[in-house]
């Protein structure tokens, strides 16, 4: 390599031009520097205020519900059925048990169905899986009140009475699209090589799916299903058309049943202080329950990302 190029002196007129330009750039940058610094400061303050604006009501909400709710808690609150307004010693035991039963049954319906549909989306290609995926996305956006009306039209109107199991069906439909998309995403994280390794051992497709794909994506599946449950537990509108609520303690799936959101809805809008207190207690129990579900779901999700990393 010749060193001529390196040794050759640069043309001097270019030098002068360069220096001139540099000075110009420096000057213009310096002249706007203060303005840009101030602009940066203002935008920081304004956007920071927006964060505060978002956080204040949210934190105030949680704090207020906690304050009012804790005051309503007692042993009787968890163990007794509601009493008429003004008579002390009432609780929301029937609503707590009702919420557990209704959501439990909804999970029993939705988990297997969601898993199978998700498998279909993974294992098959073509227009039908695409359409189902699209349908799941659309169903996620449908307001819960409409799903309640659907359960009313399909079940309550035909059987002629309100029932706990119609509420379970409504909540299952509500959970289904969240589960399908969540399950699908979780199972897609299983590497194709593992899938093929299973097949190479001579295992039938169904065995591979069971032992490799589903087992390998358990944390993701748990997250998806827990988040779906967390959403369904707090839903009120579908329950008002199906389980409708009840003042007595009932375990029958074929009878109207109470649930925590219904208690909040009905007691919260009465003028009786004792019932309002029950509503706050119920709201607190519901909020804590949903937060615990979301946090557990997130822990599983975090474990999953750490593993794949």
């Amino acid at each position: 390599v010749s060193t001529d190029l390196l040794d050759a002196p640069a043309p001097s007129h270019r030098d002068a031009e360069d220096l001139e330009r540099r000075k110009l750039i420096q000057e213009s940058a310096r002249s706007t520097f203060k303005r840009r610094r101030i602009s940066a400061l203002i935008i920081r303050i304004v956007f920071g205020l927006c964060v505060v604006l978002v956080l204040v009501p949210l934190v105030a909400l949680v704090a207020y519900v906690t304050k009012r709710g804790v005051g309503a808690l007692s042993v009787a609150f968890f163990t007794h059925a509601p009493t008429p307004a003004g008579i002390p010693g009432g609780g929301i035991s029937n609503a707590i048990v009702g919420s557990l039963i209704i959501n439990g049954l909804a999970l029993v319906i939705a988990i297997p169905l969601g898993l199978l549909v998700a498998l279909l989306l993974i294992e098959r290609t073509g227009p039908i899986p695409t359409a189902i995926r699209f349908g799941a996305d659309v169903l996620t956006g449908i307001p819960s009140i409409l799903i309640g009306l659907f359960a009313y039209a399909v079940i309550v109107a035909h059987t002629g009475h309100f029932s706990a199991w119609s509420a379970s069906v409504a909540l299952a439909v509500l959970m289904l699209p969240i589960m399908i998309r969540g399950d699908e995403e979780a199972m897609r994280t299983v590497p194709t090589e593992l899938w093929e390794a299973g097949l190479a051992l001579g295992a039938p497709q169904s065995r591979v799916v069971r032992s490799v794909v589903v087992r390998g994506s358990v944390p993701g599946l748990v997250t998806a299903n827990l988040l779906a449950l967390a959403r369904a537990v707090g839903e009120t509108a579908p329950l008002l058309f199906t389980a409708i609520g009840s003042q007595i303690f009932s375990l029958s799936l074929n009878q109207p049943m109470n649930a925590i959101p219904i208690t909040i809805y009905q007691d919260g809008s009465t003028a009786y202080k004792s019932l309002q207190l029950d509503a706050w207690g119920a709201a607190f129990v519901l909020m804590v329950g949903v937060l615990i579900l979301s946090i557990i779901g997130r822990i599983f999700a975090a474990r999953l990302t750490r593993k794949t990393r």
């Binding site: 602009s39 940066a40 927006c50 964060v51 009120t236 409708i244 937060l291």
Partner: protein, 296 residues
């Protein structure tokens, strides 16, 4: 076979939802025709119904919520991704996500007992004194009304907006940001000209989902909107109103199976269904159209 069976069940459920709601509304559509959509009548005595009042209520409340939630949510997301050390941004983001999971009935209860008195005592009298703005706030500050419902609704959708647009903004390449900064761009210019356009489709998707949630939200709004079956004259954001969802929840129980009234309520549900589908499909279309958006 099992898999296809499951798929079939799911498709059947989807079809049944639409069928179950539409079929019961035919009586109302047959009686009032398309005029049902803009008629503001709602009279059980003369058995004359229209959706106008509730569509106006839904749209007004949703617009209020979006006007507050979209800019604030976007600014909040920008702050968390652009100007905030990760040590602080991550816990803040998780906190906002968790609060997004608080059920709407709880937020409604809080709005009823905390925000409503606050609005009656301070916020609404104050809004009435602001020039120009006060034109929208005629009448008595009652508390329960369009503005209160819209405001609390904005609190409900802001976490959605923050969480989703934060993901979208974080997806913009750091190199693009640094290039703009090297040119001496201020943070505002970086956000406005590089980050937000770069995350265009993601921000749109966030706004669409927030919009869909706002349109369909029922329970909290029922607690707060005042539940009047007419818009009130003169039009004011302080007036009580009703949304498609709130009127259905409140009066469904008192309607007779097979009556025209019941059918009119289900016709409202059909309109609500159409609105949410429109928002969702329109949003998807916009997102797809903008996916290949490139900086000029």
């Amino acid at each position: 076979v099992l898999l296809w069976g499951a798929g079939l069940v799911f498709v059947a459920v989807l079809a049944a939802i639409i069928e179950g709601i539409v079929s019961q509304s035919t009586q109302a559509w047959g009686r009032f025709g398309l005029g049902f959509i803009w008629s503001t009548a709602w009279d059980q005595v003369s058995n004359h119904y229209g959706a106008g009042t509730f569509i106006i209520g839904t749209v007004t409340v949703t617009v209020i919520a979006m006007i507050i939630a979209v800019p604030v949510g976007l600014a909040c997301a920008s702050f968390l991704t652009e100007m905030c050390p990760r040590r602080i941004a991550t816990p803040l983001g998780i906190g906002i996500d968790l609060i997004a999971a608080v059920p709407s009935i709880v937020i409604g209860l809080w709005g009823l007992y905390v925000m409503q008195p606050l609005f009656v005592r301070d916020v609404e009298p104050f809004l009435k004194t602001v020039p120009v703005v006060e034109l929208l706030f005629k009448g008595a500050p009652l508390g329960a009304g369009l503005i209160l419902a819209g405001f609390v609704l904005s609190i409900m959708i802001v976490p959605t907006m923050v969480a989703l647009s934060r993901t979208a903004l974080a997806g913009v390449s750091t190199l693009d940001r640094e290039a703009a900064m090297a040119l001496g761009a201020t943070p505002w210019q970086v956000i406005r000209k590089v980050v937000v356009p770069g995350a265009n489709s993601g921000v749109l998707a966030a706004a669409t989902l927030a919009l869909g949630r706002a349109v369909g939200e029922t329970i909290a709004v029922t607690f707060l909107i005042g539940n009047a079956t007419s818009i009130g004259h003169p039009f004011s954001l302080l007036n009580p109103g009703a949304t498609l969802g709130s009127i259905i929840v409140l009066t469904f129980g008192e309607s007779q199976q097979g009556s025209l009234y019941r059918s009119a309520l289900l016709a409202l549900a059909v309109i609500l269904l159409a609105m949410t589908l429109l928002v969702n499909l329109g949003g998807r279309w916009l997102v797809r159209k903008n996916r290949n958006f490139r900086l000029p």
